[in-house]
Subunit: 394 residues, 2 copies
């Protein structure tokens, strides 16, 4: 892939269809790409301090070429920014800039900024134009596509938000060069997820090519484009998550519980790491339920371990709440429907499915098996090796 | 209209169509009507202290008959409740009650509660079921129908919100008996608005029958049903206000400026009163612009005066900011499109239309003419009579 030839993936949503452009050098073309689609509009850029320090000037230059002088709202980095208080701050800032319904809110950052800015764009004047310029791998392959926006509540992650589709997504792969490796790995978990859901060939390709993806070769943009195609497919089929879209939650039910259990700290566990462990657990749980072969679970675990991702609860530094407490985090999760537990389970790599009415008792005993603090008392289970337990390389 | 025969008006929005039921005794049938449409769901009732004191027990009894034991969130009455802080409170309360996507948020109150609770229902879990049980006349004829929800910002009214349609609207006309007369009059302004927009025969009917509407005879429910039909028509034609729906803003551009100028105090001016003055001003302004006969403006003013509504700026107790300041409130209003002023003007009673590019200079000189503090210096203008200026009967 050359610097001037981005790949385009279309999200087919009828009169709300939009393009995802993937490639390098897109920041410098942001003004051109935006004003081609939304001529004559003004803009506010929502970003975080890390992204602003590394890339805001480049984005401003790119917008300037098309005479867009944006208002800029810079927020603290981190999951805690997805709060009511920061939502109000962004809403106020956009209104203070006197932007109108047809003007643009630009989310320039990772998934935190994308979710927060997208929510603000969805509610200011009951819906403004919205452009995603995702800067983390996770945001490029997942959160910037599909129109889910939102913030966290004290009662759980992403419990408050709206569906609000962007008009354009610009994924400049060059900006990933400044992303901390830990964040790159976390995003890689979501990338691999598409292989695990329904693209076994993509998962096999990643097993071969992951080192080149990490090294920033052309495989990086290829992998991102494939992930965007996968996500765009699901979103076009089920925009409002009344069915299939829930497959994207593979790994997320366990993952969210672990994030909640670590207070969304970020130092102990970032979202993609929770998803990595969650995916490994979902595969292992499926094998315990005799739905899938244990070999597939082992393959998933091995790949996550190879790329340096955590893959089991024991990889989380510090103590975890016990299995009962983890289950109660799961039961608070929004994927609980009428009291029954809904999980994404699998029949093997690339064969994920939505399982309703998973008995809480099965989940609990599996959590007990998998819990580093409860394993010792259960003979016959694989023990975590203490030497690796708290020293995962970052 | 008898107690057991409500009128049904359908809001024709395809797969999101819903019924408005209008009649007396509907609180006691709330459980039946809701569970017929949304069987087996749980609910949270959002209300304000005034409405709760007068009618909450009756609603709970009505819900109880269908085994619905709602969580109840009671907020302080008044426009200031439409804030981020109270939005967060409602969202938290609904989540604390562990309601799921398919459960119901019930707005039980006036337009303030309807707008706030509807917004919360639109964002908790990215959209929950929502039922409106409007208790003010304004809410029964206007705010409960059509799915506009939202809160105020320091920068203006209703600047933040979503479109989120209810599944059902229950307008129990009996609850209006406890509504303070001042609030009834304010709601009457919105009722009369439909006549002024495009139903001249309805306006003429109101000129004849308004006293029976105020007295609570069968004409009251008839008038409410006619208003709901008018609103449902407009909403079905233009759900997201990209065109015609803006006609419903007749009187609102001036009205919102006056509300902002009086700090949404409620004691000096409530929403419907602002609309009443705004409608009179819109008619008078249209006549000044030679669009409509001054006789029509006079007829509107006379009717508003007859029912005891304020109809000119001089009717607002206390001092107002000057005309320039009022204009700046208008220019901040969300109906400003790309810097030009958009107004709802009229060619006569029942002939309102959307006027784009109204010159700010025309608005300013009209505001100066109409302003009680600036009138003296302009010979030839009708002067406000000081004896009536601050002593409108409530
Ligand atoms: N809306 C959706 O569909 C969806 C899907 C998946 C995840 N999410 C959400 O996404 C969030 C996680 O996203 P994330 O992992 O991007 O988190 P993030 O936004 O916090 O970004 C991770 C860290 O990387 C930094 N960063 C981002 N881009 C950078 C760059 N180019 N150079 C240097 N630093 C950079 C950020 O400042 C931050 O510190 C979670 O809140 C999750 O709920 C949403
Ligand atoms: N969403 C829309 O389409 C739309 C349309 C018009 C107005 N609105 C909004 O509606 C709001 C105004 O509505 P409102 O006039 O109903 O205000 P409100 O909700 O404040 O009610 C007015 C007063 O009457 C009291 N009250 C309500 N019902 C009562 C009853 N049956 N008995 C005794 N007291 C009762 C309330 O407690 C309050 O004090 C404004 O915020 C306006 O922006 C929205
Ligand atoms: Zn995720
Ligand atoms: Zn109104």
């Amino acid at each position: 892939m050359s610097a001037d030839q981005p790949v385009t993936v279309e999200v087919g949503l009828g009169d709300r269809a939009y393009d995802i452009l993937i490639g390098s050098g897109l920041l410098s073309r942001a003004g051109t790409e935006i004003s081609r689609r939304l001529p004559g509009t003004r803009a506010a850029v929502i970003t975080d301090a890390n992204v602003a320090a590394a890339h805001l000037d480049a984005l401003k230059d790119g917008l300037e070429k098309s005479d867009i002088q944006p208002a800029v709202i810079t927020l603290p980095p981190g999951e805690k920014t997805k709060s009511f208080a920061h939502l109000e701050e962004v809403v106020d800032g956009v209104l203070a800039a006197r932007l109108e319904r047809g003007d643009i809110v630009i989310a320039f950052g990772g998934g935190v900024i994308g979710d927060l800015a997208g929510f603000a764009a969805g509610i200011v004047r009951r819906g403004m134009n919205f452009v995603q310029i995702p800067t983390s791998l996770l945001a490029q392959v997942d959160s910037s596509v599909g129109g889910k926006t939102g913030i966290n509540s004290a009662r759980g992650k992403n419990l408050v938000g709206v569906f609000h589709q962007p008009k354009l997504v610009l994924a400049d792969t060059e900006v990933l060069d400044t992303l901390p490796i830990r964040e790159f790995r976390a995003g890689y978990a979501e990338l691999a997820k598409y292989g695990l859901i329904d693209r076994p060939a993509f998962f096999a390709w990643l097993e071969e090519n992951w080192a080149r993806v990490f090294a920033g070769g052309p495989e990086r943009a290829q992998a991102i484009a494939e992930a965007c195609r996968a996500k765009a497919d699901v979103v076009a089929r089920d925009e409002f998550e009344t069915g299939d879209r829930a497959l994207l939650n593979l790994g997320h039910t366990f993952g969210h519980a672990l994030e909640a259990a670590t207070q969304y700290g970020g130092t102990r566990l970032v979202h993609g790491e929770g998803v990595a462990i969650g995916m490994a657990l979902a595969h292992r749980f499926s094998s315990r339920l005799n739905l899938a072969s244990p070999d597939d679970a082992a393959r998933v675990e091995a790949h996550l371990r190879a790329v340096g991702l955590p893959w089991r609860m024991a990889d989380i530094p510090g103590d975890l709440p016990d299995a009962e407490a983890l289950l109660s985090f799961i039961a608070q999760d929004k994927k609980v429907s009428r009291g029954a537990l809904t999980f994404i389970l699998t029949r093997g790599i690339g064969q994920a499915f939505i399982a309703k009415d998973v008995p809480a008792s099965e989940v609990l005993s599996f959590l007990k098996e998998s819990h580093p603090g409860e394993q010792e008392s259960r003979p016959g289970q694989q023990k975590s090796r203490p030497s690796q337990q708290k020293s995962r390389p970052r």
